[in-house]
Subunit: 334 residues, 2 copies
DNA sequence: CTGTTAGCGCATTCAT
DNA sequence: ATGAATGCGCTAACAG
């Protein structure tokens, strides 16, 4: 398994160029010599050295994936989507965690350049001008995934978070909710949450619904419990829209601790449709977006950029839908 | 950002060798010329081409990570652990999913060789002889992570799953449980589960506890519900030990549907201490092992192998502990 | 302390 | 249809 192209050439009695040709199918080779080459490859268990190949061809067949944190609930599924499609197109991925820190993100883009990745899939809680500058420097094909670029300067794959939040409020309004709270990280930290909050505020106002904002320092289960409890104790609401599923489950538990019935006393809606949603009690109504598809579509988008396939739009908007479960719809007793 | 080492050399008025030396700190360079080189690097925004470097040095500073599925509950945390330590030692990771299929796994090891990774972190539900053969062919430094090699042929990091299960049974026995069920994938599919089941059986016998095995086709929440329900309806038990947290939560829900109180009527214990455990109701007692540490330790182990640091043992066994939560311990009413 | 030289293993002209 | 030659950008002897 460590023969070189020269060894194969010698074994087959041809030149290395011919070996390269049959491997890459880059020119017509006589059927008979092709067979000889293939036999030699098999006999020597030859495997082409991708690094040498990358240096010579200037294409490494690897793409860089920069995420805030793989261990976040939905991120793993998203990465799986990326990986599957990457594989389908014979790419491999180098995965990096940035923790959403600008310095680290910029550094990683540079490192990815060093690694000569063919393209980049980039995720970040909030896109800044510095990001754009860094991308420009790096001169790499880049697709943003699940990170909003308000000015649409970079190709991206997203859902319409604002509209999704509007849909949720309308859905709750149709159920008769007159006061709804939104729980999420405070404004300015996460674009996603900001978008969702904006939709929430717009729709509550339009529906003449009393709205309340519950800001939490970090969008995690344990970090949110206290803030939810304080908020729900002081001013009870009829429904809670959470910026993500983890917060929604925290809301469920706080409500239950306060002896509120879900959904009779308070309805709860999450975002993202992570696996948590069907494993919670009651199962959580949530805004579903296939995280897997998210990654898959972004990766597919990138392969198009890399092969100069025609692109219809540089701003892909994925569909979302409200998945109704028992946290907003009473279960029928059978 | 696409200057070469020659450009830097010219700019600094030195030879490329000197540039290489200051970059890699591989020989003493006069302070003044070093400064000139550094200035030139900065001026040209020079970044070394890692591919060329890899070809010349035969070390790519990247390691391959082969997992069954990143999107499995605990896997993402584990990968995060790997990535953090890899970064600390200036490595990058190429991540691949095998779905635990032998053919795919073998193929991936070959691909990793092509990519000239410096080493491999390998995870699989069940290690076979074919794996060993493949590893041998590839001639790569390999560390098994969370995958048992009964014959200790390959360096590995693991926990003692059998002992952990024994500990759990002893723990439940001390609480007076006289009949305990074990739920997990049927024998022969997953080494992890097999080990845990073996410990369960040994300890129940020693403690004269009535044991019951609940086999499920796949160790997932939804896939297990039916089997759990059937089992619990026909022969009620005092406690359930699940092969992982997801199954344990399924057990909680089935028990609750059968109007059983947890832990008063039935105690439930999971495995792995995933994030699910504290987000379930009641919070789940589980066998804790830091998934992050799992990956981190395995990666650290690999760096040792790669730098020929002395190794005390080739079979690292990580500690585990029972984390008691309310699924086995009634909550005090305050 | 620094420069020159020779590869690393392949893709890719340019000939033939 | 095939071979010979060149270079990708760097590391690593080997000189000096």
């Amino acid at each position: 398994m460590s023969a070189t192209i020269y060894d194969v050439a010698r074994e087959a009695g041809v030149s290395m160029a011919t070996v390269s040709r049959v491997m890459n199918d880059t020119a017509v080779v006589k059927e008979e010599t092709k067979k000889r080459v293939l036999d030699a490859i098999a006999k020597l268990s030859y495997r082409p050295n991708a690094v040498a190949r990358g240096l010579a061809s200037k294409r490494t067949k690897t793409i860089g994936v920069i995420v805030p944190d793989v261990s976040a609930a939905f991120m793993a599924e998203l990465v799986r989507g990326i990986e599957d499609i990457a594989n389908m197109y014979h790419y491999h991925i180098i995965l990096c965690n940035s923790d959403g820190q600008l310095d680290r993100e910029r550094d990683l883009v540079g490192t990815m350049w060093e690694k000569q990745v063919d393209g980049l899939l980039f995720m970040s809680p909030k896109l800044r001008q510095e990001h754009i500058d860094t991308f420009e420097e790096a001169q790499l094909p880049i697709v943003l995934c699940r990170t909003d670029d308000p000015e649409k300067r970079i190709p991206s794959v997203n859902i319409n978070n604002k509209q999704a939040a509007i849909d949720v409020v309308d859905y709750l309004a149709a159920k008769g909710c007159k006061s709804i709270a939104f729980v999420g990280a405070k404004a300015g930290l996460k674009s996603l949450t900001d978008e969702r909050r904006a939709g929430f505020l717009q729709a509550t106002e339009r529906n003449a619904i009393t709205s309340q904002l519950i800001d939490v320092p970090s969008e995690t289960y344990s970090g949110a419990l206290k803030f939810l409890k304080d908020a729900l104790q002081t001013s009870p609401v009829r429904a809670i829209v959470a910026a993500n599923d983890e917060l929604a489950i925290a809301a469920e538990h706080v409500a239950q601790d306060l002896k509120l019935r879900i959904p009779e006393d308070v309805m709860i809606v999450g975002f993202d449709n992570t696996k948590l949603t069907e494993m919670s009690r009651p199962p959580l109504t949530t805004v579903a977006q296939s995280m897997y598809d998210y990654g898959a579509v972004a990766m597919r988008f990138l392969t198009k950029l890399l092969s100069d396939e025609p692109i219809s739009t540089y701003t892909v908007v994925l569909p979302h839908q409200i998945l109704e479960r028992e946290s907003t719809a009473p279960k029928f007793v059978k």
